[in-house]
């Protein structure tokens, strides 16, 4: 069984910018803070260690200098004293040394060795075994249950070795002290930070809520652009897009409204005619006359039906919903089909009608629309061509387009009127009243031409009447291989 969403199941939570920012900002802030703290901790520890090392080394060297000097003098003194049999106490720390060791007295110890095995001097806490085996440099040792950092320095001239050690625990205390100052505030700051982010983001989102209110309060019938001066910069693209949409919708509404008004207006007259003739027929005592009036009623219904049909066609040719068919359409074949279907009307008027085409001419488009286009143009040609006239239909292809041309021997359309004939419900004065029609045929043709990306041109035909030329883009892709091979 495939996992399909159950209708009663929990709805997935809608993404929230606030929640997302919150869960992004808070951990990132904490991570950055902790990393910074760790860095500071490490740097501080290194810094302290270096400092300690330097201090140890310095102390050791100072001690060595002092002591070797002291020792030298003492040796001299001892040479004299040996003669006098007086020996100094080896445990005695000279006063000057004690002064240098005041600070970390508890944790700082030293030893002084002569000739490698004779401990001549040591601090109070120092053991009487060598602190480190090394003669020179740093080492880490353990004794008395503590870690010690030992620095050894020797004076080969006097065969003297000084070792100074510092207890490591002293270092850790320092580190902890420094770290606590940095890490501790984080734990107090996190809840506060969370609060600030949550409400800060919410506050920053407030203009969006206002925007939503403004969009929500729009009257569908009267869409107004949203003033962009009070919205945040980040929302500006959204506003621009919305405004552009509003403009388009407004235009579409306007168009729709005008169309409905026009349509209602255009329907009123045929309806008025219907009603008038129906009433005339009702009141007419003369049978023949009332029959004639009823005949007019039928005619009126036909006319109104045609108008409604055309209105529906126009409404259905919706540019927003149109998609060209994938299959190429053979315009030559379609034209000949339509011509055959409409030849009856032409024969009635004894119009000579002919089609010239050079075989298959594929165009891109919609079969139903092309059908309406050809029917309307051909219908017009037949309507406006007098008895015994002529109509020539041509389908000629070139590299990029196929030209459909319809020439008639009617009266044609004067140049100054040609731009207006595509307008909805436009009927030229000459034809008003005299020729049946509703003024929508060419509007429909024009809309189809627009949608298909074609072009239409009106001119004088060589037959003396009107020439309509429609240039339709050729089918871009070659016929699909499956069919193309056999075509």
């Amino acid at each position: 069984m495939s996992a399909s969403p159950t209708p009663g199941g929990p709805q997935p939570r809608a993404p929230s910018i606030r929640r997302r920012l919150f869960w992004l900002l808070l951990p990132v802030t904490i991570v950055v803070w902790v990393v910074t703290a760790l860095n500071v901790y490490r740097d501080t520890r290194n810094e302290i260690r270096e400092l300690t090392n330097a201090q140890l080394a310095e102390t050791a060297r100072a001690l060595l200098n002092l002591v070797s000097h002291e020792y030298y003098e003492e040796q001299n003194f001892r040479h004299k004293a040996e003669n006098e049999q007086v020996l100094p106490d080896t445990q005695e720390v000279p006063q000057r040394l004690a002064a240098t060791l005041h600070q970390y007295e508890q944790s700082l110890i030293f030893q002084m060795w002569v000739d490698g095995d004779e401990l001549v001097l040591r601090s109070e806490q120092a053991p009487d075994v060598r602190l480190s085996k090394l003669e020179k440099g740093f080492s880490d040792e353990i004794f008395g249950g503590h870690n010690w950092r030992v620095f050894s320095v020797s004076d080969p001239e006097h065969k003297m070795l000084v070792q100074v050690a510092e207890r490591q625990s002293q270092l850790t205390e320092l580190e902890l002290y420094v770290s606590r100052r940095i890490l501790f505030p984080i734990f107090i700051a996190i809840p506060f930070l969370a609060w600030v982010i949550w409400f800060g983001v919410g506050r920053a989102m407030r203009p969006l809520n206002r925007l939503a209110d403004e969009v929500g309060s729009q009257d569908v019938g009267r869409l107004e652009r949203i003033a962009a001066h009070r919205v945040p910069v980040e929302a500006k693209p959204l506003i621009d897009a919305l405004n552009a949409l509003f403009d388009r919708l407004q235009r579409a509404f306007e168009n729709e409204r005008r169309f409905t008004a026009d349509a209602a207006h255009e329907l009123r007259t045929p309806l008025a005619a219907l009603k008038t003739y129906a009433q005339v027929a009702l009141r007419e005592p003369n049978h023949e006359k009332s029959q004639r009036a009823l005949g007019k009623v039928i005619q009126g219904v036909d006319r109104a039906t045609h108008l409604v049909q055309q209105l529906l066609t126009l409404a259905r040719i919706d540019p927003t919903r149109w998609e060209p068919q994938k299959e190429p359409i053979d315009l030559a074949e379609l034209a000949s089909e339509r011509l055959a279907a409409m030849s009856g009307q032409a024969i009635e008027k004894e119009i000579e009608i002919s089609l010239s085409s050079g075989g298959r001419e594929d165009v891109k488009g919609d079969r139903a629309m092309l059908d309406i286009l050809i029917t309307n143009l051909l219908g017009n040609a037949i309507k406006y061509t007098p008895m015994h006239g002529a109509i020539e239909v041509g389908v000629q292809g070139s590299d990029h387009e196929v030209v459909l041309s319809i020439s008639d021997s009617g009266e044609g359309i004067p140049e100054q009127d040609r731009s207006q004939v595509f307008e909805r419900f436009y009927r030229r004065e000459r034809e008003r009243g005299s020729t049946p029609g509703c003024g929508l045929g060419l509007s429909i043709v024009h809309r189809i031409v627009e949608i298909m990306g074609a072009e239409i041109r009106l001119d004088e035909s060589h037959l003396g009447g009107l020439l309509v030329e429609v240039r339709i883009p050729r089918c871009e892709s070659a016929p699909s291989p499956a069919k193309g091979g056999r075509a």
């Binding site: 045929p270 008025a272 009433q279 005619q299 009243g433």
Partner: protein, 222 residues
């Protein structure tokens, strides 16, 4: 009664002409603004029924021009434009009434009668002259309480004479009110109708003014 119908739609115009003719009006039908002006200049009409969306010259232009020339002929606008603005504009341009398509033929007739009544300055819907009562709405005539059967043209002729009581109407004036310009009119048509009228309602009421025309006196003869 002579009516100028200005309507560019072939079918509606035809229907209106038939309908109004049934009611005894003499209807001249033109299909554009220019023709309307030409007919208004050359012919006499009691009322104009005017469409607004006309070729060559719009109905409103025709109306404005008519009023600017000082004509007070009743004008009834008949149009598909139904907005209040359009109606206000039409009436402000000098129209006397305004009807929106599709309309009722009977209502159109009633409105035409109302306009006629107003024009003649009477309040009653029927015209009374002594013992003669004529009702333009029902096209009925009563003489001393008895119905009189008149043809539409006879009725129109009588109505016209009664509407302009005390004034002499020429033969051509009377002729124009019962025939449209297309009708073939015999030279003595009016005389024939008057003759028939006199037979039906008595010979004293309509007086002949020799060489001028006909008159119904203001005060009925006792």
């Amino acid at each position: 009664m002579r009516v100028l119908l200005v309507e560019d739609d072939e079918m509606l115009g035809g229907g209106l002409q038939s309908g109004l003719t049934q009611d005894g009006y003499a209807v001249d039908w033109v299909k554009d603004g220019d023709a309307a002006e030409l007919f208004l200049r050359t012919e006499e009409y009691e009322i104009v029924i005017l469409d607004l969306g006309l070729p060559k010259k719009s109905g409103l232009e025709v109306l404005k021009h008519l009023r600017s020339e000082g004509s007070d002929i009743p004008v009834l606008i008949l149009t598909a434009r139904d907005s209040v603005d359009d109606r206000v504009k039409g009436l402000d341009c000098g129209a006397d009434d305004y009807m929106i398509k599709p309309f009722d033929l009977d209502e159109l007739n009633a409105r035409i009668r109302a306009l006629m009544r107003r024009r003649s300055g009477r309040a009653e819907t029927v015209i009374t002259h002594g013992e003669l009562i004529i009702d333009p709405a029902s096209h009925t005539v009563q003489l001393r309480g008895e119905p009189v059967d008149l043809s539409p043209r006879e009725f129109t002729l009588l109505e016209k004479l009664l509407e302009s009581r005390g004034r002499v109407l020429s033969r051509s004036q009377l002729e124009q009110s019962i025939y449209s310009w297309k009708d073939e009119v015999d030279s003595n048509a009016v005389e024939v109708h008057i003759h028939h009228l006199r037979k039906k309602i008595g010979s004293e009421m309509i007086r002949t003014v020799r060489g001028v025309g006909y008159i119904i006196d203001k005060a009925p003869k006792e």
